[in-house]
Amino acid sequence: MGFLAPLMLIGILAISVPIAIHLIGRRRARIVKFAALDFLLATKRKTARRLRLRERLVLLVRALVCVAIAVALAKPFTSCERKGPHVTRGPQAAVLVIDDSFASGYIVDGKPWLRRAAEEARRVLIQLGPEAEVAIVRASEAADQPSELTRDHVRLRDQLLALAPNARPADTTRALARAAQLLAASSHVHKTVFLFSLMQRTGLRTDEPPWGKDGPQLVALDLRPSKMTNLAVTALRVDPDPGAGSRGMAFDAEVGNFSDTATKVELQLSIGDRVVARGTLDLGPGEKKGKRFLATLPAGTRITDASVSITGDNLAIDNRRWVSASLRDQVRVLLVDGDPRTVRHDDELFYLEAALRPGDRDDSGASVRTITAEELAGIDPKAKGRGAAPQIDIADFDVVVLANVAAMPAERVAVLADWVRAGGGIMITPGDHVDSAAYDKTMLPLMPQSLRDPIDTTWGASPEDRDSRALHLVKWEADHPIFTPFSKDAPELADAKFFKIALLGPTTATADRKVLARYTNGAAALVEASIGAGRTVLYTSSIDRDWNDLPIHPGFLPLVQQAVRHLARKHTQGGQAEHLVGSSVVLATGDLRRLEVRGPRGLGAVFEGDRITGRSSVRYAKTDLPGVYRVVGTDQTGATRDRDELAFVVNLDPRGCDLAAAPPSALPPSGTASGAPPTDHQRRIELWHALAALVLLLLLAEGFLVQR
């Protein structure tokens, strides 16, 4: 131990002051020669002892105060070997990159690793000194980043204290790139990036180095525990299991062992809050294995959340994964074939039938009945008497698709219009049998917009120019339930070529008309409108390959399935798709006028007023935690209830579960924008703060003793 101001130790002589006070105090005590002292001694011997002890304690405390003040003024210090990074104090620019991904919640010595990292970062911040311009960059994916360096170290310390593991995986490379950007804007010569990271392999990309040779100096702190093991549920899907009955479900969980030792994992399946099955899994080092649970949904439940969880490792957040399990509603579809053919693949409905019932499986979610346009007369009560067609009860169907159906008599259209008005859904696709003039006469009650003559974009083109003159789908409403499965530029839709399309004329008397997609020439491709409580969708090209090649593109199947379910008001629920933390979820609003989303931490968002009026869907983006997000909706009648069909689950990105360390070569090279490294490996620890605190405590003790 040494002293910066050893002369101040002379102040220890002040210890004589309390001793003198003590002695003078004794002398100043009034002396009384008292005859009955035996009474005092006999009765209060303990008091006397306590008084003597208190006097000596007061003397001791006062003496210690004098000594402590003198020693504190002498500024004592001790020194030890540096364990932390080499930090140069003074004017400079520095960025502290801290990994706050969900892996940073890994428990080390009873507390999250992030706390240790934040503590180290705080030490570095102190050592940098108040003249350093510093920023804190979080290394989790999509984290908000600072816009500039600052000297406000108090705020920086508050930021460090407030750091908590979030639910995103690490993206260290992006954080380093951001740090380099911040430092590049600084005029300081000495620029350093301090990296406090678990060095996860998955967070460091070697193909995109964050800086070149003249980048900042990189100081990577070795804070990673010597051994990190992790078990995680990396995937979970649910499928109907017809073998287990109508409510049977098969839950396929995948568990990963991200360690170098074999282990046995216990899994449990919960439906809602109830554990319904348990199982074990033997996992080798670095192995991933699947485990299937068969279970039935509780009676009366059509849709619920389920989860598979494991126990027993230091990173709990990835030990559970959720899935939304629902019994699929069968959509009853009546397909009206306007151009039936004996050659199967020439039939107007060849592709549509295959898309609605892939593999012709019972669990395809749709029951399809196909009739000809003439047989559709069976829905007309007046035709029933004449026996022109077998009777068809249109009320048995949710959706009717008129595929290349010639204009129908007004009476039959009226029957269909009434059915639509009562809640049915109708989809109309044109073809060569569709005459726009005839449609204008009778079919308008079912149409969102009148038809005009079709145009052939390849008319007169040579076969080799044919493809280049084809139209493509663009500008579809990505938030609309029909397009939920597609991204904004999904090639499975955009690549389809449209050679002939029907143009649209004036709008009809329908409500809420909306163009859902357009072609590259701006013409409408898909138009939706409301008729009473039902909906109509007009597709302006053929449903088979006569006018386009969409049926042979991957987008055809989800598009028609979504369209049918949308018309039947049986959307593919948001919860059935897997949402990762941070992704946005599209929620179909239907006829709701208010919608609440309640996440794992309670109320997440409320959509009402302008945020929901006139929209067929809303987008919820605050999915910052894994878990179940429930939806409460209020319909036009004011009735409020849970909308289980809209509930969805959010899971972790399983990339972050792999805690394997990246090799040192994965880090970018330390740049040249740094000062001379410090040579002093001794670290000085000043002790006067502790002594000052001791003085305060002693003064408190002295006051306490004197008051007694």
Binding site: G25, R26, R28, A29, R30, I31, V32, K33, F34, A35, A36, L37, D38, F39, L40, L41, A42, T43, K44, T47, A48, L51, R52, E55
Partner: protein, 306 residues
């Protein structure tokens, strides 16, 4: 001198009280105090029928001649009261809370009593205890000159001051030996701060020997109220004990202990038939003496306190 300290008028007023009727129990005070003890003396009292064992010289032969029966003459005996004044001059009696020291108060009280006793031609003796090295004793005499001697010795003791730690018990035992055959009045002035109960037991012994015993329990008001405040170091008077204390913290306990001491002392002495008088040094001397004399006068001639 001591005689100057005694107010003669006060003593004269005390002299008018019926102390004579009280002290005559022992018949010690000539002319004033008649003893109930019968014996051969100069003045005839009555006849008593002869019984074997009576001295023949007391047989009244004239009465025998008249009535042919043997009568024995009985005489009233004039006796002098012997009063032993015992002064506790141990160091604890030096305490003076603000007024008279306890020793001074006790000494004046006993001087006044000696004055009264000798003025009535009774015998008064003095014993001072406290200092084991010096034995102070004035034998009882009734002569008026003796008063001068007694008061001179008493004055010397008071001038010397309170020293030593000897309790009055030894002096009381000595009186018991001296007065084995003759009853006496013993008046003790002391603070009774005796670590053991030797003094109280000695008083009880004297009382058991049919002596009259009076105790002036002399205490300073400060000893009874403990009015001290602020950090105080108390020094014992009869030992080297010291105690630094904030009196406020122990006042309640001290007063309780003092009250217990007084209650116990009073109880033990009263049970033994001792006249007990608590004499606070702030109380007028005559009031204290009056208490003593009034208490003695209540005793009927020929009756001893049980």
């Amino acid at each position: 001198m001591l005689r100057d300290r005694i107010d003669p008028a006060q003593l004269a007023r005390l002299g008018t009280l019926p102390i004579k009727a009280r002290v005559i129990v022992e018949g010690a005070l000539s002319g004033l105090h008649r003893a109930s003890v019968h014996g051969s003396s100069v003045e005839f009292s009555e006849h008593k029928e002869y019984t074997p064992g009576d001295e023949l010289r007391h047989v009244d032969w004239k009465a025998y001649a008249k009535g042919d029966r043997y009568y024995v003459k009985q005489y009233e005996q004039e006796s002098q009261l012997t009063v032993y004044l015992v002064l506790d001059a141990s160091a604890s009696m030096a305490f003076a809370g603000g007024g008279l020291a306890k020793l001074e108060y006790a000494g004046l009280s006993l001087a006044a009593l000696a004055y009264l006793v000798i003025q009535q031609q009774d015998k008064a003796g003095l014993l001072a205890c406290g200092d084991r090295e010096i034995e102070t004793m004035v034998p009882p005499r009734a002569r008026s000159r003796h008063l001068h001697d007694l008061l001179s010795v008493l004055d010397q003791v008071m001038t010397r001051g309170a020293v030593g730690d000897e309790s009055p018990a030894a002096a009381l035992h000595r009186i018991a030996e001296l007065t084995r055959r003759r009853r006496a009045l013993i008046v003790l002035a002391s603070d009774l701060f005796d670590t053991e109960d030797a003094t109280l037991q000695a008083l009880a012994t004297l009382r058991a020997q049919h002596h009259d015993v009076s105790v002036l329990h002399v205490l300073d008001p400060h000893e009874r109220t403990f009015p001290y405040d602020g950090l105080t170091e108390f020094h014992a008077l009869e030992s080297t004990n010291r105690m630094l204390v904030n009196p406020a913290t122990i006042r309640r306990d001290y007063l309780e202990r003092m009250e217990q001491f007084l209650t116990r002392t009073r109880g033990m002495l009263t049970a033994a038939g001792v006249d007990y008088h608590l004499a606070s040094t702030d109380r007028p001397l005559e009031a204290t003496l009056l208490d003593v004399l009034v208490a003695r006068s209540r005793l009927q001639p020929g009756r001893r306190a049980s």
